[in-house]
Symmetry: C2
Subunit: 307 residues, 2 copies
Amino acid sequence: MSGTRPDFVICIHGGAGTISRDTAPQRVALYRAGLAAALEAGQAVLADGGLALDAVQAAALAMEDNPCFNAGKGAVYNSQGRHELDACLMDGRNLACGALAGCTVIRNPIRAARRLLETSPHILLAGDGADRWAHAEGLDLVANQYFDDAFRFEQWQKACAADAVQRDHDDAKGTVGAVALDRQGNLAAATSTGGLTNKKFGRVGDTPIIGAGTYANNASCAVSCTGTGEQFMRHVAAYDIHARMTLAGSSLEAACRQLIDRTLQPGDGGLIAVDRDGNWQLAYNSAGMFRGVADSHGLFSVAIWED
Amino acid sequence: MSGTRPDFVICIHGGAGTISRDTAPQRVALYRAGLAAALEAGQAVLADGGLALDAVQAAALAMEDNPCFNAGKGAVYNSQGRHELDACLMDGRNLACGALAGCTVIRNPIRAARRLLETSPHILLAGDGADRWAHAEGLDLVANQYFDDAFRFEQWQKACAADAVQRDHDDAKGTVGAVALDRQGNLAAATSTGGLTNKKFGRVGDTPIIGAGTYANNASCAVSCTGTGEQFMRHVAAYDIHARMTLAGSSLEAACRQLIDRTLQPGDGGLIAVDRDGNWQLAYNSAGMFRGVADSHGLFSVAIWED
């Protein structure tokens, strides 16, 4: 790493929590390859002088399309054996946002969030309405079965047998997210998830909530969270990082440590964040976090455990 | 008013925006009576030494049951000629929260928010799932037509003819909310709404979003917002008041003025807030706000315009 401010930075996560260190090397390699591909997708946008907004969308899109991660293809099953997806995108230039909760037929929820951000006076659409809006907008729709995955199905059947709701980080897959600083100094954040295995009753977590799971503001930082959604909602986690930087003069690191080490409970999860000066944090209080970071100095790193 | 700290305070709003000063006196009297009845309901709880949480729920419940206000009975019509209700409740003692978005058959959404706050690991339920949960919990359900109101129907038909989405404060009715400080020093906030006339696609506004339209924390303040929901979401408005007080040492008044006069745009709406010391604010940048305040010193006041 260099001491000089990088021209661009991108950080990604593929969920808090981790897989056993005994996991077959082939499976570990799949996760690492998935993280690297998403990181490369975002990095390529930034290296070309593209927008942070486009970079985080590209990285999130890559993870939505990868069944390793609990977002898009490979999303977990709800209590009815279906998939309900949430996504959120925020542009730090103008605080424009788009978010969807509980959509079921939109192939790439992060693309839908982008369309909403660009074209709608509304920020958040939920449930059947989100799907109907996407249809009216001509977005790419799929049958809900498109999101099916054998590993996820097995996980759901176990949860049903135990009548349990699993958090997305109780196992090897999780919410995905990306934050970036581009060459023009713009910040952006993206988060996408399939929520909780065996979840009931249209529960909405922190992912599509501006200020909870996702926030970006060129004046401070961009943040994407993963973990026990209700904890990030209750503590308005992503906006709290921004507030500590702008109101208390905290560094990005101090603001993130405060949240992860003191405000939240051990095991709640983690976050990725980058600030306007190119500082970045991959912080978590869970056993691990699927994560990666790349910058204009040539840094390119992915990790799962505390290596 | 007295210079000494009151033992308890309750503030309510019945929506930003206003009615014409030419409105028939009988109709103005109905609004004033509705505000006074809600304020009395909350005040009675606090005078008896009850919890802030119970007081704000009682005040919100009174306005949900009053067709003058856009919450519960008398909620606006969506594009399908039905009613979709949102509500949120937060307890400043422990940051416990409960919220519902887009529910259609729950007689009193604020009661459902209380049940969720007390019994569920989840904070926010949306759409059909929220209704199914309420059914499973044995809450009081009604046919969606229960929420019908002749004035609202006429308003909707006008909006349909113009193909317009009306904000809740483009007319004489609006979102309702309450914030309170009780004799034990606890703070709580409640917000409930029927959303936007002729709204489409399951749009969720700021009301059920912790930190946007509703927030309470015994360490600082309790806040309930009303107005253009997306603006309050984008700026994480309610939590911003808390953050300015706890991180920048702002007074409640300074934090509210910053938000209403500088962060938000003229016409966006307003908020009610009370802090741990019994200071309170009824602040808005719209033409008016249906509002009221009562305290242990005998203050009891309701207003619509800038009197």
